[in-house]
């Protein structure tokens, strides 16, 4: 007993920077709040929980903005948790994505017989994991954050409890997700063994030095990249994605295909740029193969789809391929390194807006047709011209047509490849270019269906769009168009948000 007390006196409390942790603390408080609120609110007023959750997300954004205005890089717990511009930018991205998803889902979840309060709770807890991921600069924190963002996502995928497809989506996502994190952990254990540290900065120093030549470092990097390839649904580890996306409730699909994927890429950016940068000859080719396969397979399979959700699922697989391109070329030279990081970040931000928008339209249309078949979009223009116009904007942005944001994102990807200048990088750029052309076919097939075809069942009553969904649509559409028209401001954001490397 005395020994314990003596020890307690010598225990030095860690230096926590509460200002830097403020966004996470606020979000955690909101989480606990809505969990309690859900218990005390009766069945007919569950929408209150969703409203408080949405408000909470906006409130969490306040400390993020305050930290950004303050501008100083903060590091704590021996470099395990860093709040720099990169972290703040991705945190803002996650919060905004979460807010839009909440807007999209409020009516959907409220109208079905779902558990509304717990839905917001799990959505926000997944977001909390993503926020932590944005600042994690250490293997343990990355692992815990990854689990915190994944476990609620597994549960949300199975939210339509009595739908067999939703069950299947949930089970597939869960099993492959857990397997992926186990494989990733095995890689982490090898990297930890080789370097003797869990902090990415130390790992980066060691891996760049003589330890980096050890074969176990190569294996560790391989396993970690494979684990995250599952998370971002890169080919050949993508096969869970279409089934999960189709079976999960549509707002959850939007969330998974945007936020969850972005979190995987954020973790990869941190691991690759800080931890493994000394061994680009290991991960460079690995990412090259992943990127080329992911783009090509995703686009080719998307061509054959007849269901919009499934088409968007494969399209989001293909989009992940484009985001992998900067990873493949980052190691070539210092200039390519900086451009590649900006390119990946900018693509993530723009992809979030356009993909969420497309899913919001799918939800709006499904409210009337209750179908996600492409044929059910026939003649949409005759009775819902606004939705048709917006859907075309999102689809052509995803395809990368000039005045829209997606064009600018793709341009950045090409620039990063050309900056690298090696033969492999240029080849990859050519592959990406060809893929952009393939993608145009299936995106325009939907557009053609909407603008030119007759209405399948002749029912031309207008589609009622609830205000929350309309707000989500407006927000994403404004981002897509504004960034496309005035991209310079956005690129500057990406340039500012470079990772603090050493």
């Amino acid at each position: 007993m005395h020994a314990v007390l003596a020890a307690a006196q010598t225990l030095k409390a860690p230096d926590l920077d509460y200002f830097a942790l403020a966004p996470e603390i606020v979000l955690t408080a909101v989480l606990v709040g809505i969990l309690l609120l859900d218990v005390f609110v009766d069945e007919t007023r569950k929408y209150l929980v969703t409203q408080v959750a949405g408000l909470g997300l906006l409130v969490s954004l306040v400390p993020v903005v305050a930290l950004a205005a303050n501008g100083a890089d903060r590091s704590m717990l021996g470099g395990a948790y860093v709040v720099d511009n990169f972290a703040l930018l991705v945190k803002a991205l996650f919060l905004a994505t979460g807010y839009v998803v909440l807007l999209m889902s409020s009516d959907y979840i409220g109208e079905g017989d779902y558990y509304e309060g717990e839905y917001s709770f799990l959505l926000l807890s997944s977001l909390l994991g993503m926020m932590v991921m944005g600042s994690s600069r250490d293997l343990i924190t990355i692992f815990v954050a990854l689990e915190l963002l994944s476990i609620p996502a597994y549960l949300l995928a199975g939210w339509r409890k009595r739908d067999l497809r939703s069950n299947e989506a949930c089970l597939k996502y869960y099993l492959l997700g857990v397997l992926a994190s186990a494989v990733m952990l095995y890689g982490m254990s090898l990297i930890f063994g080789a370097t003797g540290s869990t902090v990415l900065r130390t790992i980066g120093r060691e891996v760049g030095g003589s330890v980096g030549e050890e074969p176990i470092v190569t294996l560790g990097i391989f396993f970690i990249v494979v684990g995250f390839a599952f998370k971002v649904s890169a080919v050949p580890f993508h096969f869970w994605a279409p089934d999960t996306y189709e079976g999960a409730p549509t707002p959850v699909t939007a969330f998974l295909s945007v936020a969850s994927k972005a979190a995987g890429f954020v973790a990869l950016l941190q691991l690759v740029y800080i931890g493994f940068f000394g061994r680009e000859e290991v991960w460079g080719p690995l990412f090259w193969v992943l990127a080329a396969l992911t783009m090509t397979v995703g686009n080719l399979v998307a061509l054959r789809q007849t269901n919009v959700v499934r088409m968007l699922a494969y399209s989001s697989v293909a989009q992940a391929g484009y985001i992998l391109v900067p990873f493949a070329v980052a190691g070539s030279n210092p200039a390519a390194n900086a451009t590649a990081q900006t390119a990946a970040l900018v693509y993530l931000l723009i992809y979030a807006a356009m993909n969420l928008g497309a899913f919001a339209i799918v939800m709006a249309v499904a409210r009337k047709t209750r179908s996600a078949e492409i044929s059910s979009y026939g003649g949409l223009f005759t009775y819902a011209p606004g939705l048709t116009l917006l859907m075309s904007v999102f689809l052509f942005s995803l395809a990368g047509i000039p005045p829209l944001a997606g064009w600018f994102a793709k341009l950045y990807i090409f620039e990063s490849a050309l900056d690298a200048g090696t033969a492999a990088a240029v080849t990859l750029a050519v592959v990406a270019g060809l893929n952009a052309v393939i993608a145009l076919f299936y995106y325009s097939a939907v557009a053609k269906e909407m603008w030119m075809r007759p209405v399948p069942d002749g029912d031309t009553t207008p589609i009622p769009v609830p205000p929350a969904l309309a707000a989500a649509l407006a927000f994403t559409a404004i981002v897509v168009v504004a960034v496309g028209v005035y991209p310079q401001a956005f690129a500057r954001l990406g340039d500012l948000a470079q990772l603090t490397l050493r």
Binding site: I140, L171, F192
Partner: protein
């Protein structure tokens, strides 16, 4: 007693676990195989921790165990849900959607 021995044991355990995940069709048994992989990770972590004379390996292993408990709880809830809807947890039957 070389570090090598622990790593080889862990590698074998990892391979057996991966085999189990791929070969078993019962959802509960797939989860058990994943636990084997996590144990391989823990052997690695503790051995490397002792090798580098740092406690970080053990701390990492502790987190792996805690998170595994949470994962298994959720996983078994999912298995239960599936069983309730279709009276089977055979994974080869859970295949309504063809990729």
């Amino acid at each position: 007693m070389y570090l090598n021995q622990f790593l080889l044991l862990a590698a074998f355990l990892f391979s057996v676990g991966v085999y189990g995940v791929l070969a078993r069709k019962n959802g509960v048994l797939v989860l058990m195989s994943i636990e084997l992989i996590l144990n391989a990770v823990n052997i690695n972590l503790v051995a490397f921790g002792a090798f580098h004379d740092t406690v970080a390996g053990q701390v990492f292993a502790l987190f792996v165990i805690a998170v595994a408990a949470a994962e298994v709880g959720v996983g078994l809830a999912i298995v239960l849900l599936i069983y309730r809807n279709r009276h089977s947890i055979d994974l080869s039957e859970v295949d309504l959607m063809k990729g």
